[in-house]
């Protein structure tokens, strides 16, 4: 596993120096600060549609990071939860006429149940095998969706559930308006970020990091490693499912690609580019990858050459990811000798 900034924070000397206090504050206020930063996105990015994508994929990567960055489990099958969240939302609205909020709730629950099932069978294996089992099971979900075309629309994708207005009790928002849509999606993402921050700050958060750092030691300390891993897996699946539900609302279609291994790979790439095991890193990763793709594909059909080169340079020179490296530098500046 990579040395991570959270560990840096955790192993800071017990005497509360000014820097440690500052970092503690940064850590305590990380969710509100993140939301504050995200408020500015639609005005900074080239388009609002892209900004909404950053929110959705950012949440997806943050949810993934819960399992990968914090618990240390490299999954290659998280598209299963993202796609399930998206499909259940679309089917619940389009076929069964549910209200968007109810549909999304159902979708998150479905993603959680699927995560429980996939997690239960996959956490028995480790390392690259864990990655491959999750990949294989996610592929099974993909082919199931392809075959069940009566429900999912098959390869043509799911359509016919465009949500024009999103109601929260007495108030409703016109989400065909791109800016309104951005802030509605941000409300969900912000709430999710607050919850994730709470989870990480809880004893459970400390336990999963203990498992990541040394599983044998954690077991010796009396931690039920399997149950903890499974819980982390399910939580991760729930947030990825929410990201998928928002994706369905955003684009008003669910492509079969939302379940493809390419989508699983996106979570890994964005998390690593941003910084695994950091709270806001995956968001930075999503932002960097999506904006880079967007900008490059306007300039040249060979944008993949630049994208691939950027990945390689990142691994070679910025192994902690953009955000992770920035945090480390910050820590060195403030607390360093």
């Amino acid at each position: 596993m990579q040395p991570l900034d959270q560990t840096v924070l955790a192993t800071a000397p017990p005497v509360p120096r000014r820097s440690a206090l500052a970092e503690g504050a940064l850590s305590r206020w990380r969710a509100p600060l993140s939301i504050l930063a995200l408020l500015s996105l639609p005005f900074l990015l080239p388009s609002q549609a892209l900004a909404v994508n950053v929110l959705i994929y950012g949440l997806y990567a943050v949810g993934y990071n819960l399992l990968y960055g914090y618990t240390g489990l490299l999954s290659f099958g998280h598209a299963a939860f993202f796609g399930t969240g998206a499909y259940v939302t679309g089917i619940a609205i389009g076929t069964y006429g549910l209200q968007p909020l109810a549909a999304m709730g159902l979708a998150v629950a479905a993603a959680g149940v699927l995560a429980l099932a996939i997690g239960a069978v996959s956490i028995r294996s480790r390392g690259i095998y864990f990655a491959m089992v999750t990949l294989a099971l996610a592929q099974l979900v993909y082919y199931a969706a392809l075959q069940a075309s009566g429900w999912t629309g098959g390869e043509n994708g799911l359509r016919g559930f465009t949500v024009a207005r999103m109601g929260f009790g007495p108030v409703a928002f016109d989400i065909l308006n791109p800016l309104t849509k951005y802030f509605v999606v941000l409300a969900f993402v912000g709430a999710a970020l607050m919850m994730i921050s709470r989870i990480l700050a809880s004893p459970f958060g400390a336990v999963i990091e203990a498992i990541r750092e040394n599983e044998t030691r954690a077991r010796a300390c009396g931690i039920d490693v399997e149950r903890t891993k499974l819980l982390a897996f399910v939580l991760s699946g729930l947030f990825c499912g929410l990201a998928g539900a928002l994706f369905a609302i955003h684009l008003s279609i669910v492509p079969l690609d939302s379940l493809a291994y390419h989508t699983s790979g996106m979570a890994v790439v964005m998390t690593l580019v941003g910084g695994a095991g950091t709270f806001f890193g995956p968001f930075v990763g999503a932002l960097a990858v999506l904006v880079l793709e967007d900008a490059l594909s306007l300039w040249t059909p060979h944008w993949q050459l630049a994208l691939g080169t950027v990945f390689i340079l990142f691994v070679l020179f910025l192994p902690r990811g953009l955000w992770g490296s920035a945090l480390t530098r910050l820590a060195a500046l403030r607390g360093g000798p």
Partner: protein
Amino acid sequence: MDWGSLDLELIAMQLFSGVALGAVFVMLALGLSIIFGMLGIVNFAHGNVFMVGAYAGVFVMERTGSFWAALLLGPLLVGALGLLVERFLIRPLAGRPPDDALLLTFGLGYVLVEGVRILFGSDGLPFATPEELSGVADLGVGFFPIYRIFVIGVVALVLVTLWVGLERTKLGLIVRAGARDPEILRVLGVDIEHLWLWVFGLGIALAALGGVLAAPMRSVNPEMGNVVLGEAFAVTVIGGMGSLLGSVVAGLLVGIVVSMTALLAPEMASIAMFAFMALVLLIRPQGLFGKPGFGV
């Protein structure tokens, strides 16, 4: 499904097709497995190296007009490229977590695909079956392309060579020891970096050889490596990462499973491989021939 038409000849043919397909899978898995076993690296660009191999084959074929030159020089060219990749991209990652190499090769995959698009165009290139290997052979139970039988032969030859090299030579002994415990080797004064370089080059050359072999069977195009990557992973994992014997057994098994599914429930042919992989890993989490408790 019309069960009445299932005769023994057809089943025999299907088994043979499975073995022939399995030979291709074995070829794909070998390079991946060798690199993982020795360097502990999951090469995500493996499928794209296979694709580059096919293009290298086309490149040599266009200049020499000889399939045999393409079969020999293509993998050597790409293997040389592999040496450069190891020296300048992989080696700097020594001591880093294995995920880093995974992401790096993931990025390298993009670069390879786009590089080929720039050099050879995005539409793909024709690659005809060599004259002396075209046509079908009568197997008694049905007809089978001579070229695919030839591929089985080449893969068998590669396997025998590898086996002799690993089991019967001093170098092979060092490589096997290195896969088990590189630190001991270093202590014993073996230049392990040098060894890693050549093993990586060999793994890459094997993937490229797979590409040249596949070129006359499949269309040569920049995306031809994508499907292959999933197949190579599935086979390697089923066999046990790092186990050469595992790659061979799993490759043939998967070939037969896919082939039999194609006969009985054709629309399930691509899901079959992953279902089989999930099943094997549920029973044996380390794969058929993998070392228990082994992971990244």
